[in-house]
């Protein structure tokens, strides 16, 4: 029986060497909430597992230059408890809070959720909307990559064989900024998103949107960053007309498939619905009206 | 004489569609033997596949049940459950 090897390096260099030197398939283990399921079901048969959690800094959150830096393997539950992240990025926090169960959140990580490259991953649209930067380390050294450039297609990423994500940088928040994430599922918990939507925006003192990023999950092979939807918000306040345009732009961006979780028709309609609801929450947060969990 | 009502098709096929008959019997066991005599196969079917309702009460197995002259005996499919 082919032996499945395991290593838990304590430095980035060691980890990179292990990945580079691996014969056959090497997988990075952070939270493992996707990896172990794929291994158990036989869909994935790695030869080497590199557990990165012993690398200093890869778990934990620090505030730096007005922004937050979140270690790539930091469990969702840790992020949910961090005051700075809750204040600056409630949308990212609520997205993490929607991944699986309390038990899953004790393990699942931003890097794992992003690198699993599922179009339906809950935290990813929120990361895209936030404009988070992934700090990637590998044989060629260290590079900073906008998160939306990491997943390339379902299950595939732009990372080289010897690369992995060390941490995520969240930019400083201008005044009157807010973000939010909602996903639709048939139950109240435990499902994979049928559609997910993350929006981050900044308002001027009159409540007019000056900057926005809108992201949709589960409506295309990868999570989408929808410029048209953002443009529908920029320059406008939260009014019916704006929401209508946002709804239309969101639907127009959808290229979903029919599967056991939803039809093309249904996903497209719900994408518009969610975009409107998420925008409303993000506007409220930007104006300091509401905080905290939406469920 | 006790009246036998045959409900459902699984038994009617033995009686040629006949759904009611009178059988001189004072016990259910006697009744089954009578039915087998009159409609070969029916007695066996009743024994193996059927429950019986005597004057409204369902028996899964009613050998010992006593029949009164005015009794109504209904043959129904056996019932299981979850």
């Amino acid at each position: 029986m082919p032996t499945l090897n395991y290593a838990a390096p304590s430095t980035v260099d060691e980890a990179v060497k292990l990945l580079a030197g691996a014969s056959g398939l090497a997988k990075v283990l952070s939270g493992g909430t996707d990896l172990l399921v794929q291994m158990r079901s036989g869909r994935l048969k790695p030869d080497l597992i590199v557990d990165t959690k012993k690398i200093p800094g890869i778990i934990g959150i620090r505030e730096e230059g007005g922004g937050c830096v979140v270690g790539a393997a930091t469990p969702g539950a840790v992020v949910e408890e961090h005051a700075g992240m809750n204040k600056a990025w409630p949308g990212v926090v609520e997205a993490l809070d929607l991944i699986g169960s309390t038990q899953i959140q004790g393990r699942c990580s931003l890097a794992g959720n992003l690198c699993n490259a599922s179009p339906a991953a809950d935290s990813v649209p929120a990361l895209y909307a936030a404009g988070a930067i992934a700090v990637v380390v590998g044989g060629k050294g260290r590079r900073e990559v906008p998160v939306e450039q990491i997943p390339t297609s379902p299950g595939r990423t732009s990372l080289a064989k010897d690369e992995f994500i060390l941490e995520f940088k969240f930019p400083p928040r201008p005044a009157r900024s807010g973000d939010a994430y909602l996903r639709f599922i048939p139950r109240t918990e435990m499902d994979i998103a049928v559609v997910g939507c993350g929006i981050s925006l900044t308002l001027d003192d009159k409540g007019v949107c000056t900057a926005a990023r809108v992201s949709l999950g589960a409506v295309a092979p990868t999570v989408l960053l929808v410029k048209d939807a953002a443009d529908a918000l920029i320059g406008h306040t939260l009014d019916e007309e704006t929401l209508k345009k946002l709804d239309a732009a969101a639907r127009a961006a959808c290229k979903p498939i029919n599967d056991k979780r939803g039809t093309i028709e249904y996903r497209t309609k719900v994408a518009g619905v969610l975009a409107r609801r998420v925008a409303a929450i993000a506007f409220d947060r930007a104006m300091g009206k509401s905080q905290g969990k939406t469920h | 004489m006790p009246k036998v009502v045959i409900s459902g098709t699984s038994c009617q096929r033995f009686t040629g569609g006949k759904t009611e008959l009178e059988v001189a019997a004072t016990s259910f066991r006697r009744l089954v033997l009578e039915l087998e005599e009159r409609f070969p196969g029916l007695g066996k079917q009743v024994e193996e596949g059927m429950a019986v309702a005597i004057d409204g009460e369902i028996f899964q197995d009613a050998y010992s049940a006593v029949l009164r002259p005015e009794s109504e005996i209904v043959l129904i499919p056996k019932i299981g459950g979850g």
Binding site: R187, K260, K269 | T9, E48, G49, V74, K78, G81, G82
Partner: protein, 758 residues
């Protein structure tokens, strides 16, 4: 003796169950928790095709793998001839059961077992499975029930000819049998009807989804003595099925019941035990097998999906004068859907002059269905109770009133023959009408629905024993695997009979060698039938205790009373002796004739039918189609609640399963006839945050045939929910959903169609 109406001190209280502490501390041993020295692991090779001829099976590579000890396939099992028998839940054909456990000639559904391997570790088993080479000739398959009934449908069984039709069919088909019930003249009834409603309803297969996957540990001794430790709803059922499938004398098998992690009907037949025992015979070592969750979904019984047409005709005053129901049930790969009870239950709550019911049992390339809580009834009632709601609306009559007006009562002759006796349907409706829930106002946008259900409940063969220990404490022994707390209720009935406290009685479930035959735990029969046996055993013990006391006092036994767990001198002897406690009599047992003990076996008759009425409030998100259950109340006639907490628990659990069936649970198939959602991620059982508290209202119309008046309670609560939810949605959005599950995409679609945006 019958205790109904006497003053009871234990029955009706809520003591802690005997097996409780083991279960909250993790000490309880379930199917997969047992190990034996030298134990091997076993795993099953399953068909990747929905329908295929098995051309060849080559295990040579697998057998060469270090650690692999044996491989079995159909040729290792006797080829059983077609034989109907009634042992488990409903008729079982042993040939079908054998071929469901291990495919012979053809694989009839994706996940059908084609071989099994035993090895020293699970990992080696997995590797070996990939090395077993099976050549298939892939055949056309059929999944949909009506497609399977079509003339040109791929036929699963060349020797299956539709039963109960004249003339006898000359060519085989997928229609196993036709069921027909008629009362009065339905066509005449429709002619005199002033209002008619009709509907076509569909349901999808749903799984029992017990959280514990099937598991067993089996050992075949060189002398042919076998032990089977497994999780099932009936270890005697396991023993007889395994004996039949392997050609072993029943007495050579000792089956021990593991704690069972849920069954709901799905563990009333065998899947793994015959394979594990065959592997054990080949290897001479104990073999442990457990299914993965994926195997549970792909290969163990869901209940039927169905297509139905229902038509009701009534007078303007609400009197229903004609009712017709056509039901087509999926049986899965082998005949045996619950079409029969389905045809019997739909109209059983009502007193109607003219009824016609036609049913079809249809095979298709899906896993063989297994019993699921009141098999067949929930499907039939979904259609009937929705149609009745439509009728009430059309007539402008309150939905409870129309049910009362047409409701069955003592003396009502059912369409399947029997006449109802001592039933509590109207009492159940009355309690629903008087409930705080029914009287409460709805918020804007919310909808309320009500629906009702009927189940026969069964008795059957049960054995129980009562042993008085040397110190006067008592052991009660049950032959029924305890899924939902029956050890508690049985112990309570014994304590009540002996007039001692429940804490003084320890109840255990004995293996097949240690207690008389007992039919499966199912059909809501245990508290009724096994409880009856236990009560009779306790009564015999009381008689013995009186005799022993009489002997000690040297008076005649009929001059002894038994009260408060003590013997008192009676009649002329009153006051002449100090009362003797159970402990004092037990202490002298050796000198008064030996151990005080009694075992009773019965074939219990007269299980009283049960009725339920459920009230459901919903809110519908019109943009997403998502339905939220706001409030839920389940009213049920339980006869007499022995341990009310576990009676409520049965009702709340059944209601929750029904809500899942109504809203999100379904088997989804891909274009190749393979199940696409074989896991808890996409097979969506309700989670805690999906549900409100579920209020259980117990109506107690005693069953005169049970010593304490108990009726079965486990089946009824899953019958009304689908229609109750559907009727609530109808009330909330004005649309009738006719297809289960009423999932968000279907509800949104219905809204769009109604709004013309589609």
């Amino acid at each position: 003796m019958n205790y109904v109406g006497t003053d009871l001190r234990v029955v009706g209280t809520r003591p802690v169950r005997p097996d409780g502490v083991d279960k909250v501390t993790g000490r309880a041993q379930f199917g997969a928790d047992m190990v034996m020295p030298g134990m091997l692991w076993g795993k099953v090779k399953r068909s990747p095709h929905a329908h295929a001829r098995i051309v060849s099976i080559d295990a040579s590579k697998a057998l060469k793998l270090p650690g692999v000890r044996a491989v079995v396939s159909a040729e290792d099992f006797p080829d059983i001839l077609s034989e109907e028998a009634f042992v488990g839940e409903g008729p079982m054909n042993f040939r079908d059961l054998s071929r469901n456990c291990m495919a012979r000639g053809k694989a009839l559904y994706e996940g059908h077992a084609v071989a099994a391997v035993a090895a020293i570790s699970q990992a080696i088993c997995d590797e070996a499975l990939e090395l077993i080479e099976v050549k298939y000739e892939v055949l056309p398959y059929v999944i949909d029930v009506e497609a399977a009934m079509a003339d040109d449908a791929p036929v699963l069984h060349d020797d299956l000819f539709t039963a109960n039709v004249e003339p006898k069919p000359t060519k085989p088909s997928n229609i196993a049998k036709r069921v027909y019930f008629n009362k009065g003249n339905v066509e005449a009834g429709f002619k005199e009807s002033e209002v008619i409603v009709e509907g076509r309803y569909t349901t999808e297969p749903v799984h029992q989804a017990y959280i514990e996957p099937h598991a067993c540990l089996c050992s075949y001794g060189a002398d042919g003595q076998c032990t089977v430790f497994s999780s099932s709803q009936g270890h005697f059922m396991v023993r007889s099925y395994v004996a039949k499938l392997l050609g072993i004398d029943i007495s050579n098998i000792r089956a021990t019941p593991a704690e069972i992690g849920g069954g709901f009907g799905g563990k009333t037949l065998v899947y793994l035990e015959p394979l594990a025992l065959a592997l054990s015979k080949k290897t001479g070592r104990p073999v442990k097998m457990q299914m993965t969750r994926e195997e549970v979904f792909r290969a163990s019984g869901p209940t039927s999906g169905a297509t139905m047409e229902v038509k009701l005709g009534a007078k303007k005053d609400g009197t229903i004068v004609a009712a017709k129901h056509v039901l087509k049930y999926q049986a899965g790969a082998f005949p045996g859907s619950p079409i029969q009870p389905g045809c019997m239950c739909g109209f059983a709550m009502y007193d109607l002059p003219n009824i016609e019911v036609i049913g079809y049992d249809v095979v298709s390339n899906r896993p063989k269905v297994a019993a699921y809580r009141s098999p067949g009834a929930p499907i039939a009632s979904f259609a009937v109770e929705c149609a009745l709601d439509d009728l009430a609306r059309k007539l402008g009559i309150d939905p409870i009133e129309i049910r009362e007006k047409n409701g069955a009562k003592t003396g009502t002759k059912t369409h399947y023959g029997p006449t109802h006796q001592n039933i509590g349907y109207l009492a159940t409706l009355e309690a629903a009408k008087n409930s705080a829930h029914w009287k409460s106002p709805l918020k804007p946008g919310q909808g309320r629905g009500i629906a009702t259900g009927f189940w026969f409940n069964i008795g059957g063969e049960s054995s129980a024993a009562v042993h008085v220990a040397e110190d006067g404490t008592v052991v009660a022994v049950s032959g029924s695997p305890d899924i939902g707390g029956s050890r508690a209720s049985i112990g309570m009935m014994v304590a009540e009979t002996l007039q001692i406290s429940a804490e003084k009685v320890r109840t255990i479930v004995a293996d097949t060698a240690s207690i008389g035959f007992t039919h499966v735990t199912g059909g809501s029969r245990v508290t009724f039938a096994t409880g009856m046996a236990a009560t009779m055993a306790a009564e015999k013990v009381v008689d013995q205790l009186k005799q022993r006391a009489a002997m000690i006092w040297d008076i005649t036994p009929d001059a002894v009373d038994w009260r408060d767990g003590q013997a008192f001198p009676a009649g002329t002897n009153v006051g002449t002796f100090e009362p003797l406690s159970l402990a004092e009599i037990a202490l002298k047992a050796a000198r008064t004739g030996g151990p005080v003990t009694s075992e009773v076996s019965v074939n219990a008759q007269g299980a009283g039918p049960g009725f339920g009425a459920h009230i459901c409030d919903v809110e519908v998100d019109k943009e997403t189609g998502q339905v939220t259950i706001i409030r839920y109340t389940a009213v049920q006639d339980v006869g007499r609640a022995i341990h009310p907490s576990y009676v409520e628990g049965q009702i709340q659990g059944g209601a929750a399963q029904g809500i899942g069936w109504a809203l999100n649970e379904e088997y989804i198939y891909d274009k190749d006839g393979k199940m696409d959602n074989p896991g808890f991620l996409d097979y969506r059982c309700p989670v805690a945050s999906d549900l409100p508290m579920i209020e259980a209202i117990l109506v107690e119309v005693p069953n005169p045939r049970h010593p304490f008046g108990a009726r079965g309670v486990g089946e009824v609560p899953i019958i009304p929910p689908m229609a109750a939810v559907g009727n609530a949605i109808r009330d909330a959005i004005g649309l009738r959903m006719t297809a289960l599950p009423m999932s968000p995409p279907k509800v949104r679609k219905a809204l769009d169609v109604a709004n013309g945006d589609d």
